[in-house]
Amino acid sequence: MPEAVQLNLGTNKPFVIPGKPFAPEDESALREALKRCSPSTFEAAVQFRKTGNPEHLPAVVIGVIERFVEPDLRMKLKDADDDLRLIEDLGIDSLTMMEIVILVEDVLQMSINNDELRNLRTVGDVKTFIDCKVRGLALPKPTKFLPIEQIAAVMPIQPPFLFLNEASVSSNGANGKFKITGQEFFLQGHFKDNPVMPASIMLEALGQLAVLYLLEGASTEPGKVISPNTIFFTGCEGVRAHRVCRPGDILTLSIKPKRMKMPLATFEGAIRVGQEKAAIAEEITMTFGFAEATSEPVPASSPAAKVNGADGAHAPTPLRAAVNT
């Protein structure tokens, strides 16, 4: 057990199977710890502890979550996709989350920090999280939700040429929304007595979302930060418009990074209105450059907070949600 305590994966060191082989007493301790879980959960845990093979992890993690879910909700886990939400769909509160963590720590012999937990919202988040920890990979950045005020504070582009009302950014990409109110300057002449959002502006909106991703979502080398003043459009491929967008439409925009190598980043992008495809861009490419990061600590809400995180450095923050002394 002492090895397990010292093996703090919060620092993302590669997972090492303790030098000691998996002994019969470890197996009986594991059986006791998992006595309220399904036999397949126990079996997967034994296999993981013997081999260190991460393929067994999903079965262990789902088995532990299942054990803490009220019996009438367990069916949901049987054919769960990764979007199943822990709180809303499974009724797991923050205290139950702690119970799950303690059992997972016990069974997988790892330590999990409080502040790593706050970002786990779905079954998929939990699986990814455990997988990254065991493989020693950097943890994915949590999804950030940015209202217009925060977008405007971060972006080099400003109203009236900013075509995002809200956005969410994760390491996998970014999503945004823009509502055509009818008051936009570009509608005045586009077209005569027939206001239609220009396709070029729709492409611009996707490009802006990509800029936001570069500033808020992209992983950079430690100590490096992308400067807002270095990002420019370089080109696009495969742009097609499918639907005329008019005042009252709400555009749902999404971009995903395809390639990223200093100084170029390439994205794919799509715009929908409701379920209808409005426009796609197979490739949008930007150029970018680094600014030297300041070494001073910055508040998490500030745009410069992205300096931290990518290297897995986590300030130990107590779990506040559950405690009311």
Partner: protein
């Protein structure tokens, strides 16, 4: 000032898990003592205890526990409960049903809950062991709220959605009588219309055995002899656990809801020995003063008292101390009420005692009997002159006193009166 009545009771005790069973045990002097299995080891000199029946709560893992099927307790509730939290939870269910309270009656700004327990030494010990052996972050997230003193009201207030006053009382064996007294005050002062009063204790190995160190526990091996308050051969108390809930309501609420109360809570008094941290004053001065205060506060003359449910725990010093206090209050033979200690049946419930025995008094007043003081073979000469009844009297008590004394020399005396 509004009058206050007891309108509902819930019992999880060593002599019964509902009012019917408890009443029968009190009338027929059936005790709850057994050779307690966890004590039957050569290194443990104490052998007898009065455990709660139909519950198995020995495990540190609440999901191992078993309890009567009439109670359904979800895991998310259970995980924050100590064994005595579960007893109190079940007694609370009973009391709510018994008083015929709706959800709205239970959950509103005018309804509060006062509770008393010593916490759960077992769960506290388990949690601290786990912390030291496995690391600080491996403590159960609800280990604290399940184990510290206060656990009863934390849990009951949250789960039953209590919106009025709530707090806990920690005066050891006087605790739940303090809770009842202050609940009465809140009702009389118009702060609340209804109060739940809860007393509970684990009554298991870790809750009882530490008292062996102060030589307070009986070492008797015969369950029929171990608890015998006022007997010359008494040698200490027998531990018990459980949970008891009383529902107190103002006369307006009683009238509005049209319920028949058990009895009236007439008033109370308290006083302290200022003498010793753990030993009663040899002359019982604090308890005497508490009874004087209770009688004065309620305008009661000593000769009006029909029955006293004594604190007497079956310890050599404590019982004599109380006998002296009783003699000082009830001076003439004519004024002497019937006296018994129902701890001769239940054992000593510590923080549970005051609420449990107040519940017994309410049953005695409603059903018209006075339970006897069991297991007296030879009365201690120091207690002679008092009317200590050795068998149950089938007579209606109109005015009843309930005494408790706790560590630090805290004494409380409560006065109950037949309603009407």
């Amino acid at each position: 000032m509004p009058r206050v009545f007891i309108t509902g009771l819930g019992f999880i005790t060593s002599i019964g898990n509902d009012a019917v069973d408890v009443t029968r045990s009190l009338r027929e002097l059936r005790h709850g003592f057994v050779l307690y299995p966890p004590f039957q080891k050569p290194e443990i000199p104490v052998k007898v205890a009065a455990p709660v029946r139909e519950f198995a709560t020995d495990s540190n893992d609440c999901e191992d526990w078993t309890f009567p099927a009439r109670y359904s307790v979800k895991r998310e509730v259970l995980r924050g409960l100590a064994p005595h939290g579960l007893y109190a939870w079940c007694a609370m269910q009973q009391a709510i049903e018994d008083a015929r309270l709706s959800e709205a009656d239970v959950s509103n700004a005018q309804t509060g809950l006062y509770a008393a327990s010593g916490g759960s030494p077992q769960l506290m010990g388990y949690m601290l062991n786990r912390m030291h052996s496995l690391g600080v972050m491996r403590c159960s997230p609800l280990g604290i709220v399940a184990s510290i003193a206060g656990t009863v009201q934390f849990n009951l207030v949250a789960h039953f959605k209590i919106k009025g006053s709530s707090c806990g009382f920690a005066s050891a064996c006087a605790s739940s009588s303090h809770a009842l007294g202050f609940a009465l005050d809140d009702l009389v002062l118009g702060r609340q219309k209804r109060m739940f009063v809860v007393g509970a204790e684990d009554g298991n190995v870790d809750a009882i055995l530490p008292f062996a160190g102060m030589r307070a526990l009986s070492l008797q091996t015969d369950p029929n002899l171990a608890s015998r308050p006022f007997d010359i051969a008494r040698d200490g108390f027998v531990g018990t656990g459980g949970g008891v809930v009383l529902v107190l309501e103002t006369e307006d609420e009683v009238a509005r809801r049209g319920v028949t109360p058990y009895c009236e809570v007439l008033g109370w008094g308290q006083a302290s020995d200022g003498h010793n941290v753990a030993i009663s004053h040899p002359e019982g001065t604090g308890l005497r003063a508490a009874m004087e205060n209770a009688l004065r506060a309620t305008g009661t003359a000593p000769e009006e008292v029909d029955y006293v449910n004594a604190h007497a725990t079956s310890t050599p010093i404590g019982d004599v101390s109380e006998a002296k206090a009783l003699k000082a209050i009830f001076k003439t033979p004519a004024a002497r009420p019937a006296i018994s200690s129902t701890k001769s049946l239940t054992g000593h419930g510590l923080s549970l005692a005051g609420a449990m025995e107040s519940g017994f008094c309410a049953l005695a007043i409603r059903d018209g009997f006075m339970p006897g003081s069991a297991h007296i073979t030879r009365l201690d000469p120091e207690c002679e002159g008092l009317n200590i009844i050795r068998s149950t009297l089938r007579a209606q008590p109109h005015l009843v006193l309930n005494n408790v004394s706790g560590f630090g020399g805290a004494n409380v005396s409560l006065v109950f009166k037949k309603a009407g």
